[in-house]
């Protein structure tokens, strides 16, 4: 330990940091060092206390106990202005940007002091920093035009241009990136490290940690349960084991479905779907969803996944073509699709599924349990009893029925929405990005539940950006690329590279 400290003195060093919210201890005596020119990864499941820790380091929360040193001198980080003044910058998961302004103006807002605005000089600095770290952003683009990856790059440029930034905290940075962008992002992290920045990387993606991190600290239930690095080799299995604690991890894999084609629960023929602005999102495709099978949908994000899922749930009318469920043509409208046994787990449950002010129990009656009548009202006690006894809710450890859903974290909302969809025992289950925002343990549980649903006869359409997940679960794979739907392919007969080529180039590859 002594020798290591001689090698690289920590820029930031915290000891015994504790934060309580009422009776909940979100962080308990955390010790942590961030060194110059090094990447320190913080791992943990949802709710392990990662975000609380980061918010203390960025000065959003004031720690209840513990001390902070910067360059070996005692320091105060709360409020964030103080943290920033001492060189701590943070790249948030939800970006703090003004959509109506340009990139340049957004950066000016954060960086420039005083009355004058030296645009030319600022533009030059933006261009310099972008070029140096491979952070392609157009200073004159309006932020509302940018996709999530570009917004993140803007956010990083902003942090780098703030005077005196030495320590950068990244909060789940790759969750907003498409797979193609992740590699470039990790390269950028390495370049920042070479230039001497101290980097704190919050994530639950083990592969990224193994790829770039020098040190790793694992949090569980608000405490540090594992540290590695500074000479030691980082090992994936040990990190997973530390994150999961005594829960046993059973990797998921399907029992290969036979070659026999099951009857199609849903059959789509010659269908075209329009996007939000009337443009064609998918053209003239056929798709069967066989009962008891999982059909995986691969594709670069934005290739028509949302439009496809919504059309198969009746939310979006087909521009042309036919859609039959159980051999019968469908009337338009969500209601008839729900009555025919279709359920959708939408790709953005926070926006599309959470009803502010409503408890988890009340959410369960929205296309989950029926609204059991009791006089003119609802038999909430029956609903509560069934939810409490539900194996699906237990397996996904859905939070307490009386919690208000808008207070839940993204992962907990995802569990609630998935449990609700499974509880309905749908004949056709359309599920978008089921393990997005979930830790590995829960993601495995979700995957097992999907396999279980298929085994019980449900036709599952699985949209995912995770090729591992798609290959692990799918009986058949289709690919969305260039407004076409390609396939189906058998996962046994095509590999990830093959699917990747199709995603990028379509069938000509």
């Amino acid at each position: 330990m002594e020798r290591e400290n001689l090698l690289t003195e920590p820029l930031l060093s915290v000891r015994g940091l504790t934060k309580r919210f009422g009776s909940l201890t979100a962080n308990r005596s955390i010790d942590l060092d961030v060194r110059k020119g090094s990447i320190h990864a913080i791992l943990g499941e949802n709710g392990a206390g990662k975000s609380t820790l980061m918010k203390m380091l960025y000065g959003v929360y004031k720690p209840d106990e513990g001390s902070v040193e910067i360059d070996g001198r005692p320091a105060e980080l709360h409020p964030p202005a103080k943290a920033r003044a001492q060189g701590v910058g943070m790249v948030f998961q939800d970006f703090r940007v003004v959509p109506a302004l340009t990139v340049l103006d957004n950066i000016a807002l954060a960086v420039e002091k005083g009355w004058g605005l030296r645009r030319r000089q600022l533009r030059r600095r933006i261009v310099d920093v972008s070029a140096k770290y491979g952070l392609a952003v157009d200073p004159d683009a309006s932020v509302w035009e940018l996709d999530l990856g570009q917004r993140q790059r803007l956010e990083i440029v902003k942090v780098l241009l703030m005077p005196g930034t030495r320590i950068i905290i990244f909060d789940e940075p790759t969750s907003v990136l498409v797979p193609q962008e992740v590699g470039a992002f990790l390269d950028m992290l390495r370049r920042l490290r070479e230039d001497g920045y101290g980097i704190l990387l919050i994530t639950h993606k083990i592969n990224e940690v193994l790829a770039v991190a020098d040190e790793a600290t694992v949090l569980r239930s608000g405490e540090i349960v594992f540290r590695a690095g500074q000479g030691e080799e980082l090992a994936g299995e040990r990190l997973i084991a530390a994150m999961m604690g005594d829960k046993t991890l059973k990797a998921v894999s399907r029992t290969a479905g036979g070659p026999d084609e099951a009857p199609a629960a849903m059959a789509v023929r010659g269908a075209s779907i329009r996007g939000d602005h009337g443009e064609l999102a998918l053209e003239a495709f056929d798709l069967d969803l066989p009962a008891g099978r999982i059909t995986g949908v691969a594709g670069i994000s934005g290739s028509g996944q949302r439009e496809l899922a919504e059309a198969l749930f009746g939310l979006r009318p087909l521009a042309s073509g036919t859609l039959e469920i159980g051999g019968k043509p469908m009337k338009p409208g969500v209601r008839s699709f729900i009555e025919a046994g279709v359920t959708l787990v939408s790709e953005d449950p926070v926006k599309e599924s959470v009803v502010p002010g409503f408890t988890i129990l009340e959410h369960m009656a929205l296309d989950g349990y029926p609204l059991y009548p009791k006089g003119l009202g609802v038999d909430w006690s029956r609903l509560r009893a069934e939810l409490t006894a539900s194996p699906e809710a237990a397996a996904l450890s859905v939070a307490a029925p009386d919690r208000r859903a808008e207070t839940l974290s993204g992962g907990n909302i995802q569990r609630m929405v998935l449990a609700r969809a499974l509880i309905r025992r749908p004949g056709i289950l359309i599920v978008s990005y089921p393990s997005r925002g979930l830790d590995i343990g829960t993601a495995y549980t979700v995957q097992r539940q999907l396999l279980e649903a298929a085994a019980q006869g449900a036709a599952v359409l699985l949209l995912s950006e995770d090729l591992d997940e798609l290959f692990k679960l799918s009986d058949r794979l289709v690919v969305l690329a260039g407004k076409r739907l390609l396939g189906p392919y058998r996962p046994e007969e095509i590999d990830q590279a093959g699917i990747g080529r199709l995603m990028l180039k379509g069938e000509s590859a």
Binding site: G22, S23, F313, L315, V334, R335, F337, I338, E339, L344, S346, K351, E352, S353, V354, V355, P356, G357, F358, E362, A365, L366, D367, L371, P373, L376, G377, V378
Partner: protein, 354 residues
């Protein structure tokens, strides 16, 4: 709520701090109500009126005797109903500013039926029939907004405001023309309705049973929203339309019927104005009651029962306007400044909490 000091309570410190928090939030709400009165007091001082004296007489005239209390309730009655006409759609995510027009058309229908068809009937059937006529008129005006919303995809906020003007002119047309009292020496008002159609009055006041009707409707709206399956669906729709859509709710149909129900409730307010107070339709019947009801609903955060209270406060302020005019020479409408301040601070108070 009382604090339980027994040792079985796991976290007495937590319980105490929760109680303290509740007290604090209660105090803040009180402050939010107190500041506008203080500011209006400064305004009064500038005009040489003693605010304490005015506020004192306001309290005395409200709670001092039965008559004054009745006057306040009388004023509050239409605010409750037009407030509900804003609050119910608000729970479904709609902004209905049309209470004004719906009240006017409700009054028109009530007067029309009352004058021409219901005069010979006994009270026990005539009054309910006239109430239904008022509800029908308001509902028809709500129907116009609902059709424009659901079939025409027009924003209900805009159409409801614009239709208010149409409604007021429509009433003007009738009191100058087809409904004009032939014995009125050319004044623009309708003939008087039969005495059997007047609402029963409580002894010693001018207060009629209209307030009971309004309170009952508020209770029904509360019950429907809070306790029924329909209310659950309305609240889901109002909180997150996308989630309601994905749960298979018939959104267009719900918007449609909620707007019509709101119109009917405001129409009943029009009927009560005719049958309870004026006895005949004038071009000015119920003027501004729709907007004041909207204000009451905002102050109550669209909660039907809290609305009873905010309507009462607005009633008190309205009555105080008369006191002000008599006592100090300031116009009665000076109290609209106070109403504006109250609304401003209530909205501002919510902002900080949210």
């Amino acid at each position: 709520m009382s604090l339980n000091p027994s040792p079985s309570v796991a976290a007495p410190a937590g319980a105490r701090s929760a109680a303290a928090k509740r007290l604090l939030s209660w105090l803040r709400q009180l402050l939010v109500l107190a500041i506008p009165f203080a500011l209006f007091g400064l305004f009064l001082l500038a005009y040489g009126v003693d605010p304490l004296e005015l506020y004192g007489s306001m309290l005395v005239s409200t709670f001092g005797d039965l008559y004054g209390f009745g006057e306040v309730l009388l004023k509050a009655t239409p605010f409750v109903l037009t407030g509900l006409a804003a609050a119910l759609p608000a729970k479904a995510g709609l902004v209905n500013v049309g209470g004004e027009g719906q009240l006017a058309v409700g009054a028109l229908f009530a007067a029309w039926f009352g004058v021409f068809y219901l005069g010979g009937l006994p009270a026990w059937i005539g009054i309910p029939a006239m109430l239904l006529a008022g509800a029908l008129g308001g509902a028809l005006w709500g129907l116009a907004i609902a059709l424009l919303k659901v079939k025409g995809r027009l924003n209900e906020t805009i159409t409801s405001v614009l239709l208010n003007y149409v409604a007021v002119f429509l009433v003007g047309f009738f009191v100058h023309g087809p409904l004009k009292d032939p014995e009125s020496f050319n004044w623009p008002f309708s003939p008087e309705i039969a005495p059997t159609l007047r609402l029963p009055i409580f002894d010693g006041t001018r207060l009629h049973v209209g307030f009971v009707i309004a309170a009952a409707i508020a209770a029904i709206v509360w019950f429907v929203l809070a306790r029924t399956r329909l209310g659950y669906r309305i609240r889901v729709l109002g909180s997150n339309r996308l989630a309601a859509e994905r749960a298979g709710m018939r959104i267009g149909r719900m918007y449609f019927w909620v707007l019509i129900a709101a119109g009917a409730i405001a129409g009943i307010a029009g009927m009560i104005e005719i049958a309870g107070i004026e006895g005949r339709l004038r071009a000015t019947t119920g003027a501004n009651f729709g907007y004041l009801g909207f204000l009451a609903a905002m102050m109550a955060w669209n909660h039907p029962l809290r609305l009873l209270l905010t309507a009462f406060v607005l009633g008190m302020i309205s009555v105080a306007g008369n006191t002000l005019e008599i006592g100090s020479g300031l116009p009665a409408s000076a109290v609209t400044i106070l109403m504006g301040l109250v609304l401003f601070f209530i909205l501002g108070g919510k902002r900080r909490r949210g």
